[in-house]
């Protein structure tokens, strides 16, 4: 007997046999969300709760001379105040103190009453300040240049090439702009236990730190993430705001609600690294990339920043790059959806595109020539077909810039890992009344994890999605890893699948004697329990469950390397195309169409995958045309710390969007979120060039930059 027959293991059924997965599923929590019943951290209300606000450093670098909280305590309604930094602050918006009061407004009154005396210290908050000869030392550990590849051979390859371009590309600092700001609610009243709600991407990530701040055992603190309003990489750990809330709660022995204001969020809740890439890229006459030399700067505030390695995705025979972080007295970068990739992608895709037009090679063909992985070829061809590239009148040269409205098409590609890892466990319970639950402490950022926890379980037990309840978002449930780097699906889905599989096997073993067949012949399908050989009449699921004892049946499963091999995979590809209209009179760019083709292994919920890809495309569109943090370096302030000044794309900017799931990918599950926001802005910038010959090398592509670039070609 083969090993797998003796000891069956969990595997996905053939796709055509899937009844729940790989379908368009309505989210199990959609009803809670559309009725307003879903409770986000911001919405948590606990009796006796105080509301807190943060006092942020008003300038980028300060020496604190005096911090007196006493005046705040005299404000009516103020319940307590804590100092968070009493010596020096090193970045604009660094929290200095926090105040708790009976209402948020009273807490703000308290902040205004705090006596803060300081001396300004020299700061650097833009590139000019940070790289000036007398630039202040932003942090003690000065970054070093890192290099990749052999410089001499890369330079030589460029020298002898048929065509070379040399240009500098810049990307702005982008903000996450989660609709729900960062924050926590600490329900602690001075006893030896507490409950903490957090708007976070990691249920288990913040709870031990909250316990530490409260001086409690981690086992006495329950962390909850019932619903959370977006993260995109910015929401890991307790954060300075969470520490402040715990300190306040510990001090006043009352529950504390601390949600950052929108301004706090822009100043002190993370961002995507800005940067600059000076690129020399060379190709042979047929468009093969032969040499690349790049000098890159990362602007990650007080942090190091991130930028994916060069050459990015495309193969280059001889490549060399130098990368240096340029620290500034600004909030540190944090992970943001595909950290480092949209930046590197913009440099690489733009340079390649420039070179294609210089050589007179079709930019789509140039991409394929330099992409070794054939998956990209089929994806690029498909998006090209969908967007009308093959009928487009000017493919290897830009359109006429003298026309009032110019139409252009551009492309970009993406790569991401998206595989899972250990640390996730799930428990599936079957109750005597026939109801089923799957429990795992993971969080749902809006990606739909709650839904596929239920869906995987339903699929395994032959039930409908609505027959299974998913319990997530609590440290009282089995462990789960945080949601970062599109790893949730690869970590969570195998654990749930194995748990459901184990539950099914345990249930089959219980039913076998009743059925009078071997457990291996007991099958759960279509809401029934059947004999695979059809010798016994089927039982309804409910009838079968009625035979369970009062305590029902439960089984656990966890992520293992072995399960991962059978159920999950990693390494995804994506190609996107954008069609734009450039108004040459005003410089305005309107994106007409965006087409994405994306692989993701087995799609657990097709509707959710489409939504992820659409959302990723829009974030890239927004990065391409609108988003940018503006600072006044001399004054030391951020100029657009509001959603009015910092524009994100809205309904009026939406193009026609088509997401094509690459069903030729037959692997197991893979997380999809990150890859989707990598190519869009590059495709848009390249489409603008294709439309009218205006090459804008500095995101966002605002009308002034487009007009300036047009001025060079008209």
């Amino acid at each position: 007997m083969a090993q797998d027959e003796k000891d069956p293991v969990a595997t996905w059924p053939a796709r055509e046999n899937l009844k729940v997965l790989n379908h368009d599923l309505v989210r199990v929590d959609a009803r809670a969300k559309v009725t307003g019943a879903a409770r986000y951290t911001h919405d948590v209300r606990v009796p006796g709760m105080a509301y807190a606000r943060l006092l942020l450093a008003p300038l980028p670098a300060l020496k604190i001379k005096k911090l007196d909280l006493a005046p705040a305590l005299k404000i009516p309604g103020v319940l307590g105040a804590v100092a968070l930094e009493t010596d020096r602050t090193r970045w604009l918006g660094e929290p200095i103190a926090a105040v708790a009061a009976t209402t948020p407004e009273r807490a703000e009154d308290g902040l205004r009453a705090i006596l803060l005396e300081y001396e300004r210290e020299p700061w650097a908050i833009d590139e000019a300040q940070a790289t000036a000869p007398n630039a202040p030392k932003v942090r003690s550990n000065a970054p070093k240049v890192s290099t990749d590849g052999d410089q001499a051979s890369a330079e030589r390859a460029c020298e002898g090439a048929a065509a070379v371009i040399e240009a500098t590309y810049t990307v702005p600092v982008q903000h996450h702009v989660c609709l729900e700001t960062h924050g926590v609610v600490v329900d602690y009243k001075g006893g030896d236990e507490a409950t903490v709600w957090c708007s976070t991407q990691s249920t288990f990530g913040f709870t031990p730190d909250a316990a530490k701040e409260l001086g409690l055992k981690a086992s006495r603190v329950t962390g909850l993430v019932e619903y959370m309003g977006g993260g995109f990489g910015a929401k890991f750990g307790l954060g300075l705001e969470g520490q402040a809330a715990c300190k306040l709660s510990k001090e006043i022995k009352r529950p504390v609600h601390l949600m950052m204001t929108r301004r706090d969020e822009f100043l002190a809740a993370g961002n995507r690294t800005g940067g600059k890439m000076r690129i020399k890229l060379a190709a042979s006459q047929d468009g093969t990339l032969v040499g690349m030399v790049a000098d890159r700067r990362r602007f990650g505030g007080i942090g190091n920043g991130s930028m994916a390695k060069f050459p990015y995705i495309y193969a280059v025979e001889n490549a060399y790059s130098e990368t240096l972080s340029v620290p500034m007295n600004l909030d540190s970068n944090r992970a943001m959806r595909a950290p480092g990739h949209p930046q590197a992608g913009f440099g690489m895709e733009s340079a390649l595109d420039e070179l294609a037009y210089k050589l007179g090679v079709d930019p789509l063909e140039m991409r394929k020539r330099n992409l070794k992985d054939k998956v990209y070829h089929r994806q690029l061809e498909r998006v090209a077909r969908e967007i009308g590239w093959y009928e487009h009148p000017h493919r290897d040269k830009p359109g006429d810039p003298k026309a009032e409205k110019c139409i252009g098409i551009g492309f970009g590609v993406a790569v991401w890992g998206g595989g899972g890892g250990g640390g996730t466990e799930c428990e599936v319970r079957i109750e005597r009344d026939g109801s089923v639950s799957a429990a795992v402490g993971t969080q749902d950022l809006g990606t739909g994890s709650r839904t596929y926890v239920a869906a995987i379980t339903a699929e395994e037990l032959g039930l409908r999605l609505e027959d299974v309840t998913a319990h997530i978002g609590s440290t009282r449930l089995p462990s789960a890893t945080g949601s970062g780097g599109s790893t949730t699906t690869g970590s969570l889905a195998p654990a749930v699948k194995v748990a459901a599989f184990n539950a099914a096997r345990a249930f089959a073993a219980r039913l076998a004697p009743v059925f009078g067949v071997d457990a291996a012949r007991v099958q759960f399908a279509g809401g029934e329990v059947r004999d695979t050989q059809g010798a016994k009449p089927a039982l309804s699921w409910k009838q079968a469950c009625a035979m369970l004892p009062a305590e029902g049946l439960s089984a656990r499963g966890e992520w293992t390397k072995d399960a991962n091999k059978r159920l999950a995979a990693s390494g995804i590809h994506g190609a996107q195309a954008a069609r734009v209209e450039v108004d040459t009179q005003t410089g305005r760019v309107r994106v007409l169409d965006m087409i994405a083709m994306q692989d993701c292994g087995l799609p657990l919920n097709r509707l959710a995958v489409v939504s992820q890809v659409n959302g990723g495309m829009v974030q890239a569109l927004s990065y391409a045309l609108h988003e940018e943090r503006n600072v006044d370096a001399a004054l030391g302030v951020m100029l657009n710390s509001t959603m009015e000044g910092y524009k994100i794309a809205g309904s009026l900017e939406m193009p026609r969007m088509v997401t094509i799931i690459d069903d030729e990918d037959e692997r197991g599950v893979i997380g999809v979120a990150e890859a989707t926001c990598i190519p869009g802005h590059s495709a848009i910038a390249n489409a603008v060039f294709n439309a009218c010959g205006a090459r804008v090398r500095d995101l966002p592509l605002t009308p002034d930059k487009v007009l300036f670039a047009l001025g060079k070609v008209v």
Binding site: V34, L445, I648, G650, S651
Partner: protein, 200 residues
């Protein structure tokens, strides 16, 4: 501090609040109606959108005292009011958002759906352009809006009693000519209805 008398979701409620408090503050911090979201506090994001006498209003920019004696509808009231007026279950807008996957994190959705409801109250057969316009004050960071537009269109199609145009995720699995024909049929139905309504 004054005692406000508000009509919220069909109920007359009293709340003691400072006179300068906004409707959003009263809803969230006095009445426990946290379905209206607090995203920016200055009218930029639209997450706090509620209906006042059926029209969309940014609760964070509206003084609570200014809407006394007027009908305030929050997301919590949408389904009960639909049921009270003879409907079954959720408001068609809610049902359509649910079925079209028009949400991810869901934080912007209460405001988004109330803007959509306000649009349909005054224009039961809007075009895509009119839907975009009506939702332009509601920001969403997750979904890419497309499925939101499609949800509103589904609610419209169902109210007219016709099949909607194939949604973006359905169209790619259909035969292109069939998808085009279905979209054309849906557009014709909408145009006919708009004509009847005197909108074309």
């Amino acid at each position: 501090m004054r005692t406000l008398s508000l009509k919220v979701n069909g109920d007359t409620v009293q709340a003691a609040a400072p006179s300068h408090w906004t409707l959003l503050e009263v809803l969230r911090y006095k009445l426990g109606l946290t379905g209206s979201k607090q995203g920016c506090d200055k009218g930029d994001c639209g997450a706090c959108t509620v209906l006042v006498d059926g029209r969309p209003v940014l609760a964070c920019l509206t003084l609570a005292g200014a809407v006394e004696e007027r009908e305030v509808t929050t997301i919590e009231g949408l389904m009960p009011l639909h049921v009270k007026s003879g409907g079954d279950g959720p408001d068609p807008v809610q049902a359509a958002f649910d079925r079209c996957g028009a949400l991810q994190c869901g934080f912007c959705q209460p405001g988004m759906m109330l803007s959509a409801r306000a649009l349909l109250n005054k224009n039961p057969c809007p075009t895509r352009a009119e839907i975009r316009e009506a939702l332009s004050g509601n920001l969403c960071r997750c979904t890419g809006y497309t499925q939101i537009f499609e949800a509103v269109e589904l609610a419209v199609a169902e109210s007219i009693g016709v099949a909607p145009a194939p949604r973006s995720w359905e169209a790619q699995r259909m035969d292109p000519s069939e998808a085009q024909a279905a979209a054309k049929r849906a557009a014709a139905h909408l145009a006919e209805r708009r004509k009847q309504e005197g909108r074309e």
